[in-house]
Subunit: 71 residues, 6 copies
């Protein structure tokens, strides 16, 4: 059985780098299309998900958190 | 002179679709790498940025708004 | 296979009410413990998840979106 | 005189655990209904609110930060 | 008795304009210092707070939602 | 050429204080009108923007992240 999430943005990628602090972790993910996404999650989440360089992950973003810019 | 933003995620794309409500607008952007991102911004922002299908834009996301999932 | 999410907060509940606008939907969920949570997601998400009164759902909240108050 | 807040979600609970980093603090709150909520706030906020294990608090969440998932 | 909130940013202002949709409301607030802040909250919140032009309010923003830009 | 951003709130100010952790940085900005805003961004962003006390910056906030309170 599969969980479905209301978050509109779920992008496949691979963990490229992890920096851990005492509370927060910064996780850099390289998307399949070549773009790079940086995420800050709790250190506990990074550990529970067993994140490590090279691991396949989904990047998840709620639509109301996404801004648009024009040059 | 160029504005620099603390938001870690700025991805190039092209507007694919816009749905406007009285307050909010939903903007779908196709990224260069092929992924699709959905954004909800105010209708006023969509108008001030003159967003329209096909327009080149940047998708901007603060790192603390990005989650990670594993299958 | 089960999706695991970095969001630290996932609470079981049941949809109590849905209000749909042209872009956003407001979904009220009654948690198992009796508390009530209000969520605003896109109308498209509400439809894709086939949300309806009485449906069992999970409420998902990123830890960095949670504030604390004291009386 | 009482402050009223636009945030739709205010749930009563009790602090269960606090982890402090140099900038951020992770605060775990047990809700009256038995659910547990994790919050990341600044270390300064945790200190100004004098948060400590056992203290009664309110968990406050803006509706637009709440997602919904279905199994 | 006074509620204290972990949100680090609480700025005094006065409601300048309200636009209501079926789910969301856009509230424009003029701060004491002259700056203008736009907020999107639920229509229900705007009604429960009895927001109206000229009403004194506090603008509340969690620190993790604030970005910094340089020119 | 100038970047335009959908974020409705862009306020001029000057950096007053920076606290750096291993992942996150807390940046306090004094607005032109006298109000003070606290931001949490990644340490990497603070370094890339070369933030330092006294530097002129813009505080950027998405409208959907702004709450309203009344006394």
């Amino acid at each position: 059985m599969e969980m479905k999430l209301s978050a509109r943005n779920m992008l496949k990628g691979r963990v490229k780098n992890i920096v851990k602090g005492p509370v927060s972790s910064e996780v850099t993910v390289e998307l399949m299309g070549g773009d790079t996404i940086v995420s800050v999650i709790t250190k506990t989440s990074a550990e529970e998900l067993k994140l490590a360089e090279g691991k396949e992950v989904l990047v998840v973003i709620k639509a109301s958190s996404v801004m648009i810019a024009t040059d």
